[in-house]
Symmetry: C2
Subunit: 182 residues, 2 copies
């Protein structure tokens, strides 16, 4: 298995709960986890092949005989579960924030106040939109917290809500400070 390909862990994590196809996995990644992790078909299918070759997952023969386009379900193996657990236990975690918006704000002096205000407003709009969606997710999950599986999901979503609300507070303050020097 690749040394540091986190996509592998995403796949193992998803397969821990249920057998899925590559296409299913893509849909899961594009769902509520998309705000902190991304993945394309171009990374999922190769990863799936590598994991199968390493014996961490297997193709199941659930492979839909009902004709239609071929459909390959994968299941996690015991060594796959061990691998997942080892990763979860490993204390190191790479948390990477790469915000082009902040870069533009940082270098805003080269463009002037108006341009930076626009940059912040664009950011604010996008975040406000995404926050609305995250809040819907969160509220739906809040009712089912007694289910531990939902709790882990809820925690990541509430992380998103908390940080996005912080972003919006920052936007207001930033706009105020910039307007003052105009």
């Amino acid at each position: 298995m690749a040394k540091d390909r986190k996509t592998d862990m995403v796949i193992l994590g998803l397969l821990f709960h249920e057998d899925l196809t590559g296409y299913d996995i893509k849909k899961r990644i594009d769902g509520a986890i998309s705000f902190f992790w991304k993945g394309s078909f171009g990374s999922i299918y190769p990863s799936l092949n590598a994991l199968a070759e390493a014996g961490l997952i297997v193709k199941t023969e659930k492979s839909d005989s009902s004709a239609g386009r071929e459909k390959i379900y994968y299941a996690i193996t015991d060594s796959g579960k061990t691998e997942l657990l080892n990763w979860l236990k490993d204390s190191k975690a790479v948390n990477d924030l790469k915000y082009e918006t902040l870069l533009k704000v940082f270098f805003g002096g080269a463009g002037g106040v108006q341009i930076t205000l626009k940059t912040i407003e664009n950011f604010e709009r996008k975040i406000a939109e995404d926050l609305t969606v995250l809040k819907v997710y969160r509220d739906n999950l809040a009712g089912a917290l007694s289910n531990p599986d939902h709790l882990y999901y809820y925690l990541t979503v509430s992380f998103g809500v908390e940080t996005y609300e912080g972003y919006l507070r920052w936007c207001s303050e930033a706009k105020r400070l910039l307007a003052d020097i105009k």
Copy 2:
């Protein structure tokens, strides 16, 4: 110039204020902007060469005659400034959050409460540390806000403070919720 290499813009942005060597640029990137952007020598030097070839920067002959190791200062050109401005004006900005910690929390159900608590505590410790540093930066800058250049710097640092404080609030809440189901 490369299609989507943001490192180019970081370099142009830094050179907008003063002439710098590749080594200097690395130091700047590792400073207060490191929490939202990163860059290694392996990306800086090639980028510098590409920018020079495209005429967006030039080697200055300030190149330290005082012997010692060769030292190459770069300066931004007018077309470099135009390029920087076009980028600042461009409304699209890729903001990418890639948090392995959240991935581990999301898949926490496969490992259990204790492991997830450890994951969160590790995150909390690291964030608390970094927050202390960011607050020092912010407080130093807060006194000099009348200088517009400092303001842009201040804004990015205060973004960090705001979000990191949100992270810590989330950590407390997450630990509480996880402890409850133990």
